[in-house]
């Protein structure tokens, strides 16, 4: 069924990581990313990987499933390894005609690769264990300090959640319009790229029109239900830190201290 498409890559199992507060997870990702950029030694990377593996273990998401997420960055990975490997100057390790590999180049390339892999895996862990709704809620809370700069954080969060709600509806509509156009003889299977792109115009136009109409209807419905602005609203399920969240925070803190100590050495 087309409406069963899940947005994002949420992996639906129960685990300690799934039940954590989204704010905590967002903060943890932020702290972890910063810490990884400060790591300079292999020991540091080892500790970071240990922490990552521990989190993956807690998440109950199969490690294969997570690693599959690296597929999309394989090209980026190779590019950075290639550039660092061949274009870093230093002591020569190996040379063949104009290919020159240096000790420093190898060192930088390996570290860069480790850094990228660790970063991607850790941040994908966030989207794997947090539903998009929780995520918007967490962003709403976490970024609320931006309100001082008159940035409408709550409005943006509400916009995100409305967009998420309408994605399946619009997908269904695209499906309907596509079938309607096919029945009138539009071909979407043409080999010619230009013709193929042109075939999508009769889909885009009606979908835009209908999306605008829907948003007008929704705006009226929201206003009818007393919506004025999203700042002065109460919540049905306000986010509240639990014991496990504090535990997670202290664990994160221990990790951070270790990393700082390792970097000092």
């Amino acid at each position: 069924m087309i409406r069963d498409i899940t947005i994002g890559q949420y992996y639906n199992v129960e685990s300690k990581l799934h039940s954590l507060d989204p704010r905590m997870k967002l903060n943890a990702v932020l702290v972890f990313i910063i810490s990884v950029f400060f790591i300079k030694s292999y020991v540091g990377y080892f500790i970071a990987s240990l922490f990552l593996l521990f989190c993956i273990k807690l998440s109950n998401v199969p490690i294969r499933y997570i690693v599959r997420g690296l597929k999309s960055i394989v090209f980026l990975l190779f590019l950075s390894v290639f550039l660092n490997l061949f274009f870093t100057e230093g002591r020569v390790l190996f040379s063949y005609s104009f290919f020159v590999i240096t000790y420093e180049g190898l060192d930088v390339a390996v570290k860069m690769m480790l850094r990228l892999i660790i970063l991607i895996l850790f941040s994908s862990l966030l989207t794997l264990t947090t539903t998009p709704m929780e995520l918007t809620d967490g962003i709403d809370y976490n970024l609320s300090f931006f309100k001082i700069f008159k940035i409408p954080v709550s409005d943006i969060a509400l916009m995100m959640s409305i967009a998420l709600r309408f994605i399946p509806i619009l997908i269904e509509e695209v499906d309907k319009i596509m079938k309607a156009q096919i029945s009138r003889g539009v071909r979407f299977d043409d080999k010619n790229l230009i013709k193929k792109v042109k075939a999508y115009i009769p889909i885009l136009v009606p979908i835009f029109v209908s999306a605008f109409r829907r948003s007008n209807d929704l705006a009226i419905a929201m206003e009818s239900r007393c919506y004025i602005d999203s700042d002065n609203r109460t919540k049905l399920n306000p986010l509240a830190y639990k014991k496990s969240d504090y535990l997670a925070y202290s664990f994160l803190f221990v990790y951070l201290i270790t990393i700082i100590l390792v970097c000092r050495l």
Partner: protein
């Protein structure tokens, strides 16, 4: 029924309402189009009112005028003695006058059923504990409790429309306006929905204004208002309006039992004019 209502206060009062909009015609000139003309109507607390009329007769516009989404061009509209032009008090009107629109998909904001019901309550800043109580109560009352953690996208059309109604009911309104709520439902879901509206009207004494194309739904109303081209053509009880030829003049059809009765009378039977529902008809036969 009418007499007992007379003693009660008017919850909605519309005086000399006119509403027009400026539109561009084919030659790009601004043209003033009159949508509603000289509307005078008062609705009593606890009343079940039906608004009928052809497409483009101004029914939906009237609904949006009642809660101040559209403001009258001239004339006054007062809901619970508050004028809809009073910007400071418009929230008080919207708190007490909920609208359910035609397409459930376009009025559901949240991705979770219980959050959807809470949306209006969050807007009027109801305390979290009170909100939880109301949401659970309304979910049970509407028979949606088992879906409370689900996504509205997984509900059927009838359930979605019930959810839209539920989220209005949760705000404890005095009046509910329903703008062709059953237009997109199948016959079974339509009947269930109408039964729910009648239940709300009788049990909770909520004033109902139902805009509809289905004459079978009109039968349950206390009064019927017939609109055509922005003007009120007739205000009457369902009985009166179904014995009048005015309905067909303005493009409406009679409900099935009435049609059968009229045909039978044409063939020389003498069936009582009080026949409105199928049961009445069977009894009369």
């Amino acid at each position: 029924m009418d007499n007992s209502l007379n003693s009660q206060e008017n919850i909605i009062e519309i005086n000399n309402l006119n509403f027009s909009i400026n539109i561009f015609d084919d030659d790009e000139n601004i043209k003033n189009e009159i949508i509603l003309k000289d509307i005078n109507l008062s609705v009593k607390k606890g009343e079940f009112l039906c608004l009928i009329g052809r497409n483009g007769s101004g029914k939906s516009t009237l609904a949006k005028i009642l809660n101040g989404i559209n403001l009258p061009t001239s004339g006054t509209v007062k809901v619970m003695s508050i004028s809809t032009t009073d910007e400071k008090k418009i929230i008080d009107i919207r708190k007490n006058l909920g609208i359910v629109f035609q397409n459930p998909d376009n009025q559901i904001v949240s991705s979770i059923v219980e959050e959807e019901i809470a949306f209006g309550l969050e807007n009027i800043q109801v305390e979290t504990s009170e909100m939880r109580k109301r949401v659970d109560y309304v979910l049970k009352y509407m028979g949606l409790y088992k879906y409370k953690k689900q996504s509205p996208n997984k509900l059927s059309g009838g359930q979605k429309q019930k959810l839209a109604l539920a989220s209005v009911v949760a705000m404890l309104p005095q009046i509910i306006v329903l703008d062709e709520p059953t237009a997109m439902l199948d016959p079974k879901a339509r009947k269930e929905f109408i039964d729910l509206i009648i239940k709300l009207n009788r049990e909770k004494n909520i004033t109902i204004i139902l805009i509809t194309h289905f004459m079978e739904e009109v039968i349950f109303a206390d009064r019927v208002v017939l609109l055509d081209k922005g003007e009120i053509k007739k205000i009457a009880t369902p009985k009166e309006i179904f014995t009048d030829s005015i309905l067909e003049k303005y493009g409406m059809t009679f409900p099935f039992p009435i049609r059968v009765k009229n045909k039978l009378n044409q063939f020389g039977y003498n069936i009582n004019n009080n026949v409105i529902t199928t049961d009445d008809l069977i009894y009369a036969l």
